[in-house]
Symmetry: C2
Subunit: 123 residues, 2 copies
DNA sequence: CTGATTCATAACCGAATGGTTATATAACTG
DNA sequence: CAGTTATATAACCATTCGGTTATGAATCAG
């Protein structure tokens, strides 16, 4: 399908191994072997995970002799964070609004609990 | 593989159709048919996308007659937002620190070059 | 009851995913 | 030079994914 950047980033982040690699890279750039050490998988499997992260633009690599130094490129993460953050904020706000509404209604009900009979809800 | 919650959420978000559905749901809860209208795909395909969102905990459904009312559950998105937000903030901070360092070094180099020029004058 | 509407499920298909082993390439080491 | 090390690539495999068509089940309308 039409794989845009956001698709690739979220897809790359959907694997715990790859998220772990990114977190490991937060401690500083390393080579491929070191990145793969924590995981019980073959070297080609590690190589594939890195290729996925690279295709998503989440890492960059530079050759230093026979080693590949891997470092994070924070820009695509920033993009994804923006999307998801905007969305999360919207729902937090919705939740807070409903919360405030319910609280207000509870207060109101308390103050005129004897005068009011029954409220009809809309929708 | 060992599919934890974060895996499922990011995986669900990695498809533009599903992200679109979530955005559509921000306008309020709807039924399955309405959710699928914007997309050029069969009804079972829509149903499958909803199942993916549901497995990830991103939506909830309630039956009303023959219709299914779909609404967002914002909690898993909040979780994902937390992970990615923390990560994005870390890298922004790193970037800012490097930026500040480079700027400081540039300033220092500027003053040093003036000093060096003076010393050469002395010679 | 009959027929239409809303949705899910089953069965299938091709492509992508995540893993493997085996092999290739390039750089370092003695 | 030969041997070791770091990494990628190829070929393969099972599973998942995103789509399809066909069918089923429940509810609504006349």
């Amino acid at each position: 399908m039409n794989q845009n950047r956001l698709d690739l980033v979220f897809s790359a982040l959907s694997d715990a191994t790859r998220r772990g690699m990114l977190e490991q890279l937060a401690a500083g750039e390393t080579n491929v072997g070191t990145l793969g050490e924590p995981y019980d998988m073959s070297q080609p499997a590690v190589s594939k995970h890195l290729r996925v992260l690279e295709r998503a633009g989440l890492i960059r690599r530079t050759r230093q002799g026979r080693e590949h130094r891997i470092r994070v490129d924070p820009r695509p993460i920033e993009e994804a964070s923006t999307w998801i953050g905007r969305y999360a904020r919207f729902w937090k706000q919705q939740f807070d609004a409903v919360d405030a509404y319910l609280k207000a209604r509870a207060d109101e009900a308390r103050t005129r609990s004897r005068t009011k009979a029954k409220e009809q809800d809309k929708r």
